[in-house]
């Protein structure tokens, strides 16, 4: 499985460079996420922009990463879902579970807003 990894601010950004996330590569994705969190990664953003297709085992792999991040008081959020991929999250109600951002810019912008909210709070 082809995964690009990048650090921005206090986040690890994973870009899945696969057209399909299905039972052929979802176990690998799940393991990758768990190892990343084990090795003390910060908050994780999974960029799904290149993904045209996801099946229920792909959702399961992301859910596994999400639960593991929560256990460690970290966040795992999603960005860049194509409409067909988004529809899978809605069908399985998982869009209520994950924080889903339209794209990476929005994740980072949201962060800035949260930061400045924190700052004005601490004043």
């Amino acid at each position: 499985m082809n995964i690009g990894i990048d650090k921005k601010a206090d986040k690890t950004i994973l870009t899945l460079q696969e057209e399909r996330i299905d039972a052929h590569n979802s176990a690998e994705l799940k393991d990758y996420l768990l190892r990343l969190l084990e090795n003390g990664a910060e908050d994780v953003v999974v960029n799904l922009q290149a993904v045209r297709f996801i099946d229920s085992s792909g959702l399961g792999a992301l859910l596994s990463g999400y639960k593991n991040a929560n256990l460690r008081q970290r966040r795992l959020v999603l960005a860049g879902l194509q409409p067909r991929v988004q529809s899978m999250f809605e069908l399985t109600r998982l869009h209520r579970v994950f924080d889903i951002y339209p794209n990476l810019q929005e994740v980072l912008a949201d962060d800035d807003r949260a930061d400045s909210a924190n700052r004005s709070h601490s004043q």
Binding site: E19, R20, D22, A23, H24, F53, D55, S56, S57, L59, G60, A61, L63, S64, Y66, K67, R84, S87, M88, L91, T92, R93, V97
Partner: protein, 141 residues
């Protein structure tokens, strides 16, 4: 035989690496539906999805690890109907006792049949001479 009448019959080793091939073939077939009134791209995704979910189950429940085993998939498209069949050589199961997923519990599995039921109009599972078959139908008009 009606204007559009396409039959595709594919046999591959029972390995997940062929999921993409089967899914892509389904999408190619969906492209032929010139007259389809709905969102053709979404239809293509749904056929791809139903096939993928069914084929994963067939691989898991057939004979794990046995490289000699195969999975057979059929796609039959007519003007107003698509029928997808996925065969397995396993013990079989009772489709009607598969529970809907519990949306409050974040289990990692158990959404395959639910997804299939949602994107197709009817689903049934039965024994045949050539193994068990999950048969999924969708009306197109």
């Amino acid at each position: 035989m009606s204007h559009t009448d396409i039959n595709v019959d594919v046999v591959v080793p029972n390995q997940t690496r062929y999921l993409g091939l089967i899914g892509n073939i389904a999408e190619q077939v969906a492209k032929e539906l010139d007259g389809y009134p709905g969102d053709r791209d979404m239809l293509a995704y749904h056929l791809n999805l139903a096939l993928t979910e069914a084929m994963v189950n067939a691989i898991e429940h057939s004979a794990p690890g046995d490289e000699k085993k195969t999975v057979r998939v059929c796609i039959h498209l007519e003007d107003n109907n698509v029928c997808i069949r996925v065969y397995d050589q396993g013990q079989g199961f009772d489709l009607n006792t598969v529970p809907a997923p519990n949306f409050e519990e974040l289990g990692e599995r158990g959404r395959g049949i639910f997804v299939i039921r949602n994107v197709m109009d009817s689903v049934n599972y039965r024994k045949t001479d050539s193994g068990n078959v999950l048969e999924m139908r969708k009306r197109l008009a």
